[in-house]
């Protein structure tokens, strides 16, 4: 692997002061400090202070915006610093740095523009029935829209090609970024693919999805995705 194949690891972090140091330490086992970018989404805890004590690159959004803006900032950074690909890596500690190569491989081999890591095997978490049903319905709905099965469309562990970075730096869906970005990728002609990876159970921060009823979430995602299909870009 040449120097220029190296990805930028983009770590969205919102109030992850408790987890972020461990996440950075984990990433430093596979990447140089200049290849790790933590983007704090207007955190109100000590996230910024913790990250600044480490050697990694850091961007701070002045107020909370949501994952879409965070990723746009990250993609913009990747373009300015001429990274050929990027990995989106959650700041809450559920992703494992050593697993990143699994989602990077197909992107580097130009087999796809976006590789989504989905929980595999024992790392699968026990979910409520409503959640499982909701995920199944979203998957079914995505098959209709994209003619492709997506094992875990809500996963935030992803690798992006340069082409995907360029496109998504300009437009990234705001309401339900994970699911909608899959629909948007299809619309932009970006090739998508899922890769099985091992993940840790969530610790520290909570999933934003937990707050909504799963079914309600699903209805909203469906509506938003349909609107996305109709939108002009």
């Amino acid at each position: 692997m040449s120097e220029r194949d190296r990805p930028l690891y983009i770590v969205p972090a919102y109030n992850e002061g408790a987890n972020i140091a461990a996440v950075i330490a984990d990433l430093l086992t596979v990447a140089a400090p200049t290849e790790i970018l933590v983007v704090s989404d207007g955190s109100t805890d000590d996230t910024a202070a913790v990250v600044r004590r480490t050697p990694v690159a850091f961007l701070e959004l002045p107020f909370n915006n949501g994952v879409a803006t965070v990723l746009k900032a990250g993609f913009g950074y990747a373009l300015r610093h001429d990274f050929p690909c990027a990995v989106q890596f959650d700041g809450d500690g559920q992703h494992i740095a050593a697993e990143a190569k699994k989602i990077l491989a197909p992107v580097r081999a130009d087999k796809c523009d976006i590789a989504v890591g989905y929980r595999f095997g024992k790392s699968r978490i026990v979910s409520s029935k409503a959640r499982v049903l909701g995920r199944m319905l979203i998957s079914g709905f995505l098959i209709l829209l994209t003619r492709q099965y997506h094992a875990d469309p809500t996963s935030g562990f992803r690798a992006y090609s340069r082409r995907a970075i360029e496109r998504f730096a300009r437009d990234f869906p705001e309401e339900f970024p994970e699911v909608e970005s899959i629909v948007l990728a299809k619309k932009f002609g970006l090739r998508l693919r899922g890769e099985p990876v091992t993940m840790r159970p969530r610790r520290g921060g909570k999933s934003s999805i937990k707050f909504f009823g799963s079914i309600y979430y699903m209805i909203k995602v469906t509506l938003a995705s349909l609107i996305m299909m109709l939108r002009r870009y």
Binding site: A57, L59, E60, L61, P62, N65, T69, K72, A73, G76, Y77, R80
Partner: protein, 146 residues
């Protein structure tokens, strides 16, 4: 019809109250524009609402005709309907304006983040250069800026 019209003919008192209220809204809008507390583009619909409502309130024949066309049996309801339509338009206009503001906000924010980063890099570079300068003159070991 004649009787119904008489029954629902607006009283002079009602007309005055309604007209005064509408004129007040109109003047208030103008005054706020004058003080630059309100941008013209957000005031146009308010002004249009006043301009359309005034004749409906004062000119009963017109109100009757429009009500007939719309199939509204109770003419004052036409005034209410017109007002509601304007309120919906104004609200929709606000939603669109808010979305646009959000888009601009994000663009500005990303630009600020980019410039923050560049500034940081520049400051580090300057510190590094200063450090190596003094290192060269003092013969001290080169220090890494940060």
């Amino acid at each position: 019809m004649e009787q119904a019209a008489n029954l629902t003919e607006l009283l002079v008192r009602q007309k005055i109250i309604a007209a005064v209220f509408i004129v007040l809204i109109f003047l208030l809008t103008i005054e706020f524009i004058r003080r630059r507390a309100l941008k013209e583009r957000y005031a146009l619909l308010w002004l249009a609402a006043s301009v359309v409502l005034i004749p409906l309130v004062l000119w009963y024949e017109l109100l009757l005709k429009i009500s007939k066309v719309l199939g509204i049996a109770y003419p004052p309801a036409t005034i209410l309907l017109t007002a509601i339509i304007f309120i919906i338009l104004i609200l929709f206009h606000f939603s669109v304006a808010l979305s646009k503001t959000r888009r601009h906000e994000e663009k500005l924010l990303l630009r600020i983040v980019e410039q923050d980063e560049r500034l940081d890099a520049l400051e580090r570079e300057i510190a590094r250069l200063r450090g190596s300068d003094s290192a060269a003159t003092d013969g001290a070991p080169e220090s890494r800026g940060g």
